[in-house]
Symmetry: C2
Subunit: 125 residues, 2 copies
């Protein structure tokens, strides 16, 4: 239990940085070397490496073992766990959007009534 | 874009702590005061307050404005954004589970073959 809790914490912590999310997005298009990953982010190699270490520790990527060129690959399994955890709250956000929808309908109905009232007043003049 | 990126970072950062996830889970059962939240976690009020501040900043909870008793409520909308972001990777984890499934089938088939071979050898003896 503790381990899976920690894995979930590591996944969410890894996802809490926009650069790391962008790296995952890039890797979803295919494997890439650290050098290739550094280009679009305009970052130094050590800075990219630091982000990759966080992602690797969270098992969100794995690195190839070729000596010269160690490509990075996306590992999506931890994202499934994260998605499952968040999914437990689906009914709450759906409920809040339903409430918002109802509220908008009430606003719209009030607006229509007010408009009709205004038109009637206009006719009376 | 930057704002929604930051909101997503704040959501994931808030979710990266098991106590904060447990607080959200508790609030999914209904509103609670800081005092009530502190009990099951065996934490001091300032420690719980610190976690609540992180959750509140990420808009994952809101606090009532009653002077004496400020109950906390779950706000699930940011979880929808997080779920949408992770959902973009669904095909990858589904693919990796499919591969695992295939691999297990191969292992199982090999095991059955090896077993049959073993049985044949046994009969020959």
């Amino acid at each position: 239990m503790q381990t899976s809790q920690d894995a979930l914490s590591a996944t969410f912590a890894a996802l809490s940085d926009p650069t790391r999310r962008a790296i995952l997005s890039r890797l979803s298009a295919g494997e890439a070397s650290v050098q290739e990953l550094a280009v679009p982010f305009d970052m130094t190699l050590p800075a990219v490496s630091k982000h990759l270490k966080v992602l690797e520790k969270a098992n969100l990527i794995r690195r190839g073992r070729t000596a010269q060129w160690r490509p990075c690959y996306l590992e999506a399994a931890p994202l499934k766990q994260a998605s499952n955890w968040i999914g437990e709250y689906r009914k709450f956000w759906e409920a809040s959007f339903d409430r918002l929808d109802e509220y908008l309908k009430v606003l719209q109905a009030d607006g229509t009534k007010a408009k009709k009232k205004g038109e009637k007043k206009g006719k009376r003049k």
